[in-house]
């Protein structure tokens, strides 16, 4: 699987990650080499019906009891923009689309 700058920009869009075109060229070269290395796994012989690792242990669940949680002001304190009750973000729905 070869990775070119256009593929990098496609993945970056999925990851909501702004990448400049010259950065995409450099990243394509790096990722291409890395993917060539990890492609070696395709040649590993595994038994028929081999299962994927999901989790090491058994589930340990805590008692289903109400507990305290972060106070609102503590939760909001690190927000870049907030109004005391909510996190504020730019407009999500465009007027023309609605």
């Amino acid at each position: 699987m070869a990775i070119d700058p256009a593929e990098v920009l496609r993945i970056a869009r999925l990851a909501r990650l702004k990448i400049e075109p010259d950065e995409a060229t450099r990243l394509a070269k790096d990722l291409d080499r890395i993917v060539a290395h990890i492609d070696s796994l395709k040649a590993v012989r595994l038994p028929e019906g081999a299962e994927a690792l999901t989790y090491f242990g058994k589930d340990v669940l805590r008692a289903d009891e109400p507990r305290g949680c972060l106070a609102k002001e503590d939760g909001l304190r690190n927000a870049p923009i907030q109004d005391g009750d909510f996190f504020l973000v730019p407009k999500i729905v465009d007027k023309e689309e609605s």
Partner: protein
């Protein structure tokens, strides 16, 4: 006691509890050293002397009032900067979290406070713990105290360098692919990754959740044990906490009758000659002390790097989706919310983090998931089975921790694949969820430390520490790095 900074944690706690030394004097000795050394090694990202003194005075007050603050009374412990300490920055070595101040303590921090420890600053790391040299820190690299032009290793390079240069007797790190053991090896100290699930990760900023574990650094095996005893055990706030208490880490140093396996695959080409000879000498020593040394083979372990560099970036791409400029950290300016997300992340993340987010997003994306992530988790399950079968024949495995001693700063910075390959000997343990420990087995001709790596079965910490303590007695004792230029 003179030169308090030279003492280990066990001795310091005993001295403070018996009033032979005050916590204030212990703190001052380490602050004095840290403030002098940090310009050279750059181990700390944040160190607030007044906050350290305040904690130390409180310990002394409690002792004067007849209380016992606990097994780490007055002992300074440096904290990797991906662990949350209420009211202190937790940058993760990233611009994106530069403004973040956690509103709560991690579980391990609560345990340290409860044991009477003095939280001693936040240590440097590769951004989001992604790297093997701390060169990926947005705030500059940590330097190896034994040669300031070389790496301290990574990602917990700041914690390893702090302990090696006497800035703190103990430190916490986190290990995902080798991030405690590799810097411990390169800095000549003891570093240990516990069994997956032994230490709660509540308050550890997540990188790759099926791999991450918090673990101790110390200059001796006993000191590392003391720290693991403090931080380990069940925590209902971490769903992956195994609910298991810390095993007995105080068994006598003795390897008589232990079967120790030497994996053939760990001694292939790429292992530097000077590293190989020190490790082989240490293994011979264990044999002379009564261990049964056997060659074993783990053919699938050679795929560890490929598996790791699919699994870890995939999980990272998911975990790091939370950095979107809404709830904490940096925010980019955008006309709409999606542009705001993209700009925040594009401006806030460094090159290696972007590389791994992209790699992980690719491996998880539609059409590739089965071929990459699915395949990697199958090979990983087979690796785990192979290792479990091996542990039916031997009690422990031994190898070098790293293929070479500390490499030069900048040497691998432009070659991500070469940097990844330096983790070849450490990735198996986290991929299989088992504990492993690195301790120094000597120095190369250039004076650079070399690590001996011991791996045990899941929850095999008792036998791991028992053998490590025995190995420590056979090996050269810790020796201080040269004083930095004035």
């Amino acid at each position: 006691m003179s030169d308090l900074w030279q003492e280990g944690a066990t001795a310091l706690a005993a001295a403070v509890r018996s009033r032979e030394a005050s916590a204030a004097d212990v703190a001052e000795a380490h602050l004095d050293r840290a403030l002098r050394w940090n310009d050279h090694v750059e181990a700390f990202l944040h160190l607030e002397p007044e906050e350290v003194r305040r904690q130390a005075r409180e310990i002394d007050r409690r002792i004067a009032a007849g209380e016992d603050p606990g097994p780490l009374a007055g002992v300074p412990v440096a904290i990797k900067d991906n662990l949350c300490v209420r009211g202190q920055p937790a940058t993760c070595g990233s611009r994106i979290l530069e403004p973040f101040v956690p509103p709560y303590d991690a579980h391990v921090i609560e345990r340290l406070r409860g044991a009477g420890a003095v939280l001693f600053g936040k240590t440097n790391l590769d951004e989001f713990a992604m790297g093997s040299s701390t060169e990926n820190s947005a705030f500059g690299p940590t330097r190896n105290p034994f040669d300031l032009e070389r790496t301290a290793g990574g990602s917990s390079g700041g914690s390893a360098a702090a302990v090696a240069s006497g800035l703190a007797p103990l430190a916490l790190g986190s290990d995902t692919g080798g991030s405690i053991r590799q810097p411990a090896a390169l800095c000549g100290v003891v570093g240990m990754k516990p069994t997956y699930g032994l230490v709660s990760r509540y308050g550890l900023i997540a990188f790759a959740s099926s791999l991450d574990q918090i673990g101790p650094f110390g200059r001796t095996v006993d000191d590392a044990a003391l720290l693991l005893e403090t931080i380990g055990g069940p925590d209902p706030r971490d769903a992956t906490s195994a609910g298991v208490p810390v095993p007995d880490l105080r068994q006598p140093a003795d390897v008589k009758g232990l079967r120790i396996g030497v994996p053939r695959e760990c001694f292939g080409e790429g292992l530097a000659r000077d590293v190989r000879s020190l490790v082989e000498r240490a293994i011979q020593g264990l044999g002379k002390a009564g261990a049964r040394i056997e060659e074993v083979s783990l053919p699938l372990s050679v795929h560890g790097i490929a598996v790791y560099y699919i699994v870890a970036p995939s999980e990272a791409s998911s975990n790091l989706a939370r950095y979107d400029g809404v709830r904490y950290g940096l925010r980019g300016e955008g006309r709409d919310v999606e542009e705001m997300f993209s700009l925040t992340r594009g401006e806030g993340f460094g090159a290696e983090v972007k590389r791994r987010i992209l790699l992980g997003t690719f491996a998880l994306s539609s059409g590739y998931y089965e071929a990459y992530y699915g395949r990697a988790q199958k090979v990983r399950a087979a690796m785990r089975h192979e290792l479990e079968e091996c542990f039916k024949k031997v009690d422990l495995l031994v190898s070098a921790t790293t293929p070479t001693a500390a490499f030069g700063l900048g040497e691998k910075a432009d070659d991500p694949l070469a940097m990844y390959l330096s983790d070849v000997l450490t990735v198996t343990a986290p991929l299989c969820g088992v504990p492993a420990l690195s301790l120094s087995c000597g120095r190369t001709a250039k004076g650079l430390p070399v690590g001996l790596h011991l791996t045990a079965p899941r929850f095999g910490e008792s036998v791991l520490f028992r053998a490590a303590r025995a190995a420590e007695q056979l090996l050269p004792p810790f020796a201080w790095p040269p004083e930095p230029p004035r």
